[in-house]
Amino acid sequence: MSNVLIYVEAENGAAKKSFLEAVSYGAAVAEMLGGKAIAIATADLSTDHAGEVAKFGADKVLHYGGTVVQGSQIAELVAAAAQQENAAVIITAKSINADLAVPMIGAKLKAAVATNVTALPDLSNGFTVTRAAYTGKAITQVSLTGAVKVLSIKKNASGLKEYNKVLVVESFSASISPSKITVKEVKKQTGEILLPEADIVVSAGRGLKGPENWGMIEELAKTLGAATACSKPVSDMDWRPHHEHVGQTGIKVSPNLYFAIGISGAIQHLAGVNSSKVIVVINKDPEAPFFKSADYGIVGDAFEIVPKLNEALKAAL
């Protein structure tokens, strides 16, 4: 029997949506392998919210009573759970800490690792996954031959699916080493929608002319329940914080809907957004290269169009 273990990261008591997507992905893989989909979560997941993990596909939720703060500790926890459950496949969504845990789990278990996986695996001839290479300029099929496989999946790799399984919670204990890294200070903007988790992203570039003009972008994002993002020049000039920068050297996003406002569409920017499902480009330059990579485009002045779009959306939604 080949079980699948899914790491579930939670915030404010509830599982993050991208990690619920990982649970659905894991449930689909478990069905293919004829095994169980088992989730592992820490005390960050409150038991009130554990039902969502079963709803989206987990046969069982292992609940670790403590919290873990560093990637190395997540790796220890997940490796211990994988060994207990005899997991053949380990799955996680992307987050800063999970991204570091993934290679550490790989090295611990001598597993085959694939990150940024964009679709369900193909099991017709071994175990093959699809992932992007050259920052989205090529797609590769990677065959994983290790006895244990570790996959980190991108948002929208397979989406959320309701399985509505019966919730089974089992407490899990493991001895986790103290981290050698001391966290001195955390500066986090609260209340905003996190970019890697967002279904809709409203991104703006140099066409906005200055940081004082971001009010309309934030309003549009608020109407849509979207995260705000920006191009590299904008974060380089400190108009917006670095964690909003999407592109080759910033965050890579794959939301359902990406608005690019006043961004010309340099190849490095496209590399960070080209796996978005639908792209809308608003630019006053009809020759902006971004229009070639868009699904919908409007030629015009952002200062005129964005407020109008916001009003139209408010009326419609």
Partner: protein, 243 residues
């Protein structure tokens, strides 16, 4: 302070990746130090100067990567090691780095948060695990005070300040330092700096790229008149079904 910077040799990020016979054809493309590795190298040069230490660059690659390694020497590394092997996957590369680091006992092992060719973001974590060292990724600022480093790390929606004692591994990104452009003196001296070629240790690997494809192209863009914004909202709801 003994500093190791691991660099990848990757296609220039401005280049389109052409395909030939179902594979990327990189023959006409210039290669560079991977952008994130270049940030790590730039900060490492500053830290080497501050601590009057020694800075080594390491690349796992065949002889064609030597011009890229020489560029790192021109930027300011003191010497270089090339592990003479095709970098099969992250586990293979990390195993080679760890084998060398076990003998050399570096205080700092820096590299980029990910390479720009296969974007795995795995090598730093694997090296740290293999050596039993702490690992900080993505590291946006790194200051040393004696053997204690204060680092700024990007987290979702913000940043955190962490402290860790050497030795450790860090995966770096901007704005840790400004990229350095080699000057003429650097380029001249790079030609005579030591570049040691070592043979790889045997490593069993568990991943193989079985196929390359071009990314799917978007069907042509649908243009909407700026005086008809309602049409965009309708299309997003009814056609694209994303609202």
């Amino acid at each position: 302070m003994k500093i190791l910077v691991c660099i990848s040799h990757v296609p220039d990020t401005n280049a389109k990746i052409p395909f030939k016979d179902g594979k990327p054809d990189l023959s006409g493309i210039s290669f560079v130090i991977a952008p994130y590795d270049d940030f790590a190298l730039a900060r490492a040069v500053e830290l080497r100067d501050q601590t009057k230490g020694k800075l080594t660059v390491l690349n796992v690659g065949l002889a064609d990567t030597e011009p890229t390694i020489r560029k790192a020497l021109a930027i300011g590394a003191d010497d270089a090691i090339r592990v003479n092997a095709h970098p099969h996957d992250a586990f293979y590369v990390a195993s080679q780095i760890a084998a060398i680091a076990k003998q050399e006992n570096y205080d700092l092992i820096l590299m980029g948060r990910e390479s720009s060719d296969f974007n795995g973001g795995q090598v730093h974590g694997m090296v740290a695990e293999m050596l039993g060292l702490p690992c900080v990724v993505p590291c946006m600022k790194l200051d040393l005070n004696g053997n204690v480093a204060t680092m700024q790390r990007e987290i979702e929606g913000g940043k955190e300040i962490v402290e860790v004692a050497t030795p450790f591994v860090a995966g770096c990104q901007e704005p840790i330092a400004e990229w350095k452009i080699p000057n003429m003196r650097g380029i001249m001296s790079a030609k005579t700096k030591p570049l040691k070629v070592v043979e790889p240790i045997p490593v069993e690997t568990y991943t193989n790229i079985s196929k390359y494809e071009m990314p799917p192209q978007r069907s042509s863009v649908k243009m909407i008149d700026k005086d008809n914004i309602g049409e965009l909202v309708r299309l997003l709801r009814e056609e694209a079904k994303v609202l």
